[in-house]
């Protein structure tokens, strides 16, 4: 199978490409025009075709998508103001889906996020599965949640209007090399201190290699079409357990300041009340003191990965300790073995793979 992976040079994208190639697929890896490709770990691999294109540029899209069997829509923008994130997450997806419609590519695996869920509408310690409510009023959420919600709507629209065969992947907190801290624990207080909101709250993490594996598996399986999968690892740690495990590898250790969930919730409710009563709800309050954002970050809940396990047989390969060990290892696990060793890798699903694309040239679509 030939996969187009967008956002291929990013944290998750690098691993998706590595997993897909390791499982015998050919990959067209989209990177931005001025991204550095040296050190990606698979830039010279014969089964990877790197294509330079900016997804905001509609004119480059048809050529990018043409000839692929499946598109893994992984690119998103997490930084900048709302309009920057809208362009980097929504406009890019809109252009990509229009190109898929133009070129007749139907299969889409869209990487979404837990951020689309409406945590405020859920009870404490409720089960967050794929049927949990979506946030239908994200005005008090951050730009990332707002734009990812629109992005998911576009993916559904592609299924409905163009007969797209769509799988939505909603990972929890993805961690791995250089990305081991998450604001879901609470808040960073300088470089080596953090506020831990609700020490016994479960942290819905997934190690980046496990998550990338789930995404590639979803692309391979027809049973995944029309499905939405939440991705979290097994035996999820609490906030406190994760920090403890992280500190075994981290130097210097992260010192924590505990804050009970109920106390934090009270402070956020108080801030909202003051904002409503005295400031006409116009005041800009830090996200950890906005109930909608606080609940999305820190709410105690329980999680399951049952649906993807039952549906396509995914199982997270690495547990927390091993994942953190790999995260801090000198070896970059997104790097593929050199060319001659790679040739010996057997495809996991040989019947579904096409002949490898031998065009290794780095192209610029812009």
């Amino acid at each position: 199978m030939k996969l187009l992976v967008t956002g291929a040079s990013g944290f998750l994208g690098r691993h998706i490409v590595a997993q897909a190639v390791a499982r015998g697929h050919d990959v067209r890896a989209q990177v931005r025009p001025v991204s550095t490709i040296e050190g990606l770990g698979w830039e010279d691999h014969p089964n990877v075709q790197i294509v330079r294109a900016d997804l905001r540029d509609k004119s480059a899209m048809d050529a990018l998508v043409e000839g692929c069997d499946t598109v893994v829509s992984n690119a998103a923008c997490k930084a900048g103001d709302f309009y920057t994130q809208f362009a980097g997450t929504v406009i890019t997806t809109e252009n990509l889906l229009a190109a898929m419609a133009n070129t007749g590519v139907k299969r889409l695996v869209a990487v979404s996020t837990f951020s689309v869920y409406g945590f405020l509408r859920m009870g404490d310690r409720a089960l967050l599965d794929e049927n949990a409510p979506i946030d239908n009023d994200p005005i008090d959420r951050d730009e990332y949640a707002q734009t990812k919600l629109v992005q998911e709507e576009l993916a559904h629209g592609f299924a409905n209007e163009h007969g797209g065969k769509v799988t939505i992947i909603r990972p929890g907190v993805i961690y791995g090399r250089d990305n081991t801290w998450t604001a879901r624990i609470g808040a960073e207080l300088g470089a080596n201190r953090c506020l831990v909101v609700g020490g016994r709250t479960i942290l819905p993490v997934t190690y980046v290699e496990n998550c990338a594996n789930a995404i590639v598996l979803a692309a391979e399986h027809d049973q995944a079409i029309g499905e939405t999968y939440n991705i979290v690892d097994d035996n999820l740690p609490t906030h406190r357990q994760y920090l403890r495990a992280l500190n075994k590898h981290r130097e210097p250790r992260m010192k924590s300041l505990p804050m009970p969930w109920l106390a934090m919730r009270f402070l956020a409710a108080l801030a909202l009340g003051v904002n409503k009563l005295f400031l006409g709800r116009q005041a800009k309050i830090p996200s950890i003191l906005r109930p909608a954002a606080l609940h999305a970050r820190c709410k105690p809940a329980t999680y399951t990965n049952k649906r993807i396990k039952d549906s396509i047989g995914w199982s997270p390969q690495f547990g927390l300790e091993e994942s953190l060990k790999r995260s801090f290892d000198d070896h970059d696990f997104a790097a593929l073995p050199p060319h001659d060793e790679a040739a010996e890798v057997q495809p996991a699903n040989p019947g579904s793979t096409d002949a490898p694309d031998l065009d290794q040239e780095t192209r610029t679509c812009a």
Binding site: R32, D54, D81, I91, T93, V150, L154, L279, A366
Partner: protein
């Protein structure tokens, strides 16, 4: 009350300010929002309560029949879009720069006259409170005759954000003065507000960064009218960001910063010539304390330096309703456009 039917073309960053005004104005009914991106148009329509989202502005003009259209697209598209809106019978409020040169502006203005429609360029900072206060100081004779004007904008455009993006360069880089062209209208109309008739213009356009993305990253222009002087500065290389305005008269001097508003007025005070410097320091110190509280309040309440845009739009719609001349007049736009041309003219380059 019969509401004016308004529509918006372009849903980029500045549209948020126009749409906030339109969504809350009692004088307008937002009948359409148009963008080439359906997702962007639909999001804006939903967020700001527009009746319908469009991806084809001609379809919007035909179906929604707006009385006023806000053209908020990149400047290269303004002439085409504005002409079509005027032809469809709508007044146009257009983002700056309204055209890429004075000739284009003259043609567009003549076309608006032919169609008996109003054409308004966004001169929003002219309506910010500090500028209105300086207007009053001049009108009240506090400053005396204005002899010198300094307008200085510093924005660190090179280190990040949409203008530094090399993956998909911003269309502003293709304007005659590069990215500075996206801001030059503000500098022009504010200078002309206090310094209306320059005889001589000289400008140094420089690309100190020296790369191929930015055409220029620095402007240093001098304007002279008889014995009066003005200076316009734009810099990408100094910090912090500022939009500083200084007006010096024969009697007093006033300074402000439109990004972080304050007023520093140095004038003759009680105590005569000897004590005036001390009294000025005390008076301005107290004023600065008040400004810092105001800046904190603005930050907390999410009030941006675009406050003048809301005043401009309010006054424009009021004028349209009363069939009066809008607050940004032909002269304002004509002179600003002409000044930009003069600064770019080869003969005036330093």
């Amino acid at each position: 009350m019969l509401k004016v039917k308004s529509a918006v073309i372009g849903t980029g960053e500045i549209s948020a300010e126009h749409l906030k005004f339109l969504a809350t104005s009692k004088a307008t009914n937002l009948v359409g929002v148009c963008d080439l991106s359906r997702a962007a148009a639909e999001y804006a329509a939903k967020t700001f309560g527009a009746e319908k989202a469009y991806t084809d502005y001609k379809q919007m003009l035909d179906e929604a029949e707006p009385d006023v259209v806000h053209v908020l697209t990149p400047p290269q598209s303004h002439v085409t879009l504005t002409t079509d809106c005027l032809d469809a019978g709508a007044h146009v409020i257009c983002e700056k720069p309204i055209t890429l040169g004075h000739d284009q502006f003259t043609s567009l203005w003549n076309h608006a006259q032919l169609k008996q429609k109003h054409l308004v360029e966004d001169h929003n900072y002219r309506f910010n409170q500090p500028i209105l206060k300086i207007d009053k100081l001049i009108a009240d004779g506090v400053l005396g005759d204005v002899m010198e004007v300094d307008i200085r904008m510093a924005l660190d455009l090179r280190s990040g954000g949409r203008f530094a993006d090399r993956n998909l360069p911003n269309p502003a880089h293709r304007l005659p003065a590069g990215v500075i062209h996206d801001f030059i209208t503000h500098l022009g109309y504010l200078t002309l507000r206090f310094f209306p008739d320059p005889d001589k213009v000289a400008a140094a356009w420089t690309n100190h960064g020296g790369d191929d993305l930015f055409k220029y990253d620095d402007l240093d222009a001098i304007l002279i009218a008889g014995n009066k002087h003005a200076r316009i500065r734009f810099s990408c290389r100094t910090a912090p960001d500022c939009f500083a305005v200084t007006v010096r008269g024969t009697r007093a001097e006033v300074q402000t910063d439109l990004f972080h508003p304050f007023m520093r007025l140095i004038r003759p005070r009680i105590g005569g010539e000897k004590l005036s410097p001390v009294v000025n320091q005390f008076a301005n110190g107290l004023s600065l304390v008040g400004s810092s509280i105001g800046t904190f309040r603005n930050k907390l309440m999410q009030r941006s330096p675009y406050e003048g845009l809301h005043t401009l739009l309010y006054q424009t719609y009021k004028a349209l309703g009363n069939d009066d001349e809008p607050p940004v007049t032909f002269n304002d736009m004509d002179r600003a456009s002409r000044l930009i041309d003069q600064m770019l003219l080869g003969d005036n380059r330093i």
